[in-house]
Amino acid sequence: MADVNITLDGKKLTAPAGTLLIEACKNAGIEVPSFCYYPGFSLQGACRMCLVKIEKVPKLQTACTTVIGEGMIVTTDSPEIHQARKSMVELLLGNHPLDCPVCDAGGECELQDMTFAYGAAESKYIDIKNHREEQQWSPVVYFDRPRCILCYRCVRVCGEGMDVWALGIQNRGVASVIAPNKEDHLECEECGMCIDICPVGALTSGAYRYKTRPWEMKHIDTTCTHCGDGCRTTLGVRRADTGIEIVRGDNRDKSGINGDFLCIKGRYAFDFVDNEQRIKQPLIRKDGRLTPSSWEEAFELIGRRFAEICGREGGRAIGVIGSSKTSNEENYLLQKFARVVLGTNNIDHHRTGDFPAFARALAGKLDATASMRDVFKAPAMLVIGNDPTNQHPLLAWQIRNNVRLHRSRLYVINSQPIKLRRQATAFAHIPAGSEAKLVALLAGDDSVLDVLVSENTPREALLSLRDRLRGEQNLVIIFGAELRGEEMARLVKVGSAVSGAKFVCLGDYANSRGAADMGLYPDLLPGYLPVTQGKTFREEWGGLPDAPGLTIPQMVDAAKAGQLKALYVVGANPVARFNIDPFAFAKSFVVMQDMFLTETALIADVVLPGANAYEKSGTFTNTCGDLQLLRKAGEVTGTKPDFEIIVRIAERMGFDVRKLVPFGGGMWADMGQSRGAQSGEADRHSVWLEAHGLETKLSPFDPMAILDEIQRLVPGYHVSRRTLLSGTDQHTRIGGPGILHNPELIVPANDDLFTSGTLGRYSRALNSVLENQRRKPVETEVAAD
């Protein structure tokens, strides 16, 4: 767009035509206060805090609703403006309670800041304040009406951002109040976006309210552990008797891939962490009972039994099941442990997306995967299958807001009337299970039309959809687990005909993609390299078993036949997920590490208390392939990270841990001591080393030591360590030849907004919302699992 010349506080600037004055000020480093203006939402002009003086305009103008014009001369601060803003704050305080000491927003409240900035602390009104009792709108949302300053941010984020429209405004003028659109309660997605965006303490969260104050917590950015989208969530933690307690989840710094967004799970469902059912001591089955024991005894037993079985029958007799919720480093380490220490390829995990087929379909194509940020920018999007609103809330947010803010075109093809159809340019409602037929149609096969048409979706609609898609450019194609194997390959082929097309293959758990990338497959090494190949890994690790191993169902059969003598389950619950007959493993030695006594504990001989993603450092790869950092936030005494447990078991088996984790490497450097007392030298030195991945890894329990190896050996993971450590997401390329698997092996998680596999069962916040919904008569149909 053409540039416009303006003068801001005497500074001559140019900015693209159409820029809002408040944004132009912000870009020029001039702060204009605002309550109701929020970037990305409709303009309100309600609070009048952003008043500025524009030359030749008699009255002060609101910067948030004024578009810059050629030659505009603007003053953003003068005694007149200061006085006007001060009066605005005074008016807001007219009916505001003196609540700061108990208010949850105290310390991070925009109204407090403005009151200080404009010195409007004394009240000129003598009338009695209009007090209203606090209301609870849902298990997680509370509203304290006197504190509300009517900025309408909550109404807009809920409606425009979330497309939920659960909040509204009642009455007019001074009598206006924010209220739920359904009587006295919210029927919504409970995302808590309204609470986060509220500039004051009017909306408070059930999980955090009145617990502590913002400055009393440490704030740790990490990655959400609930779905495959990988939102950045900031956990507020404080010391507690049991270790380090997580008290709050939010997204304070909005620099993550999720921007303003977090769903209920990222914001509130951290509370499985201190569930009282958490195991905090190793348990060993003695006389049929799981009995508390020491770590020493447990490691001793596991090391001895594993070494015995390996020695007698070879690695073939041991199976390993990994997790889609453990970090990349742990997954890589686990498969290395299985292949190198146990000498077996019997390793698998709960697959929720067909990533090996995806890698195969994309082999040789560069830049063919879209990152989560790309989805927000794409000019056109095609979503086949899945229900992002429920299963990939962040993805749905990106799609919705891309449509709203960038007028992107959205094409939705689904067997259910999913909610995203409301944003769709075209929605094709197809019969269940006919996604493959649809791909055939897109490929030009008109014979499948008969199967696809229905009364909702006539023939012409499908044909015009195909034509429109063919005319698109830079299309992002997103598909769920409905498309697997050959069908997916076909879609990629058809899609690639669109110039600049990029793909997203959806997997359900937080690190489903990472588990696949790290080679938790019986026939694939990290980077989707078939075990029969993998020369680099053979050289690096000094030999590997050649034959592909057993998948989970095959492990069950082998156990029934008495061939699988031991099973090692890390952070997974296969018994519940695959409906395994618990007696299948009656004769096998089963070791499991997890947070809770899940169904799998029924068959376990040793249960080790593991840590979750919020209690360890490492990296996660989201479903789009964005690599992000996990930072350790909480800690529960008595548990250990899975990484450490694996290393310790290897050590007990008599394996040289140096061969497993290349620790102790890096650069032994003079950390600045010889440079005399130049303060900061040592610091700068170690920052540089860390950024380049050269810092000394002194312990075999340091996940960064394995990350070095991953970045060296796994294609697509050569991203900048410096950027990664700074907390920025990095897109990885899906690499390797890939392979075709039996599509039956993929079992979608089918979680919705309020469930999260086994983890969700132990979250009080999620359970309270579910229970609350059960109590209410269901009016709208809930999408089937």
Binding site: P101, V102, G106, E134, Y210, K211, T212, R213, W215
Partner: protein
Amino acid sequence: MCILRDIAAIAKGMSVTFREMFRPTIVENYPKGPGPLRGARFEERYRGVHVLQRDENGLEKCVACFLCAAACPSNCIYIEAAENTAEHRVSGAERYAQVYNIDYNRCIFCGYCVEACPTDAITHGHGFELATFNVSNLIYRKEQLLAPRPAHLGANAVFNRAEVEGGAPPVVAPGE
């Protein structure tokens, strides 16, 4: 001459001694003095062991705002907040301090906490005999810091509940 000068000098010196001997003492005879304070005397604004005050209804004034902890230069105040409920009401506002500790190993009696408190909940009392043989005794818990319940609410054995319900006697609570 020389002797006379010396005698004069001694006499001058001794005169000060004798004059002072008959003046009233200024130094307190603590701890051998009379009364419950054993001779100690306080200025009104003496900053001693803290007292967490109650309001006229006997509820705790502290609303667990953490401002005292934020103001404290020696970082010796530890608070855990909790929410009041209709069944369990401890303070007058939404929130109360479920745990409130002051670590007297570290407190420097600067009074910043008292100044920071928006509800006048934390105040300096006159307690000063803190010495102990065990440092862990120096971490005072809320129960040790709280002011007694006002007498009309039953802290004083003389006034029992029945009398209170029959109309509170006009007694000023200690410390009010």
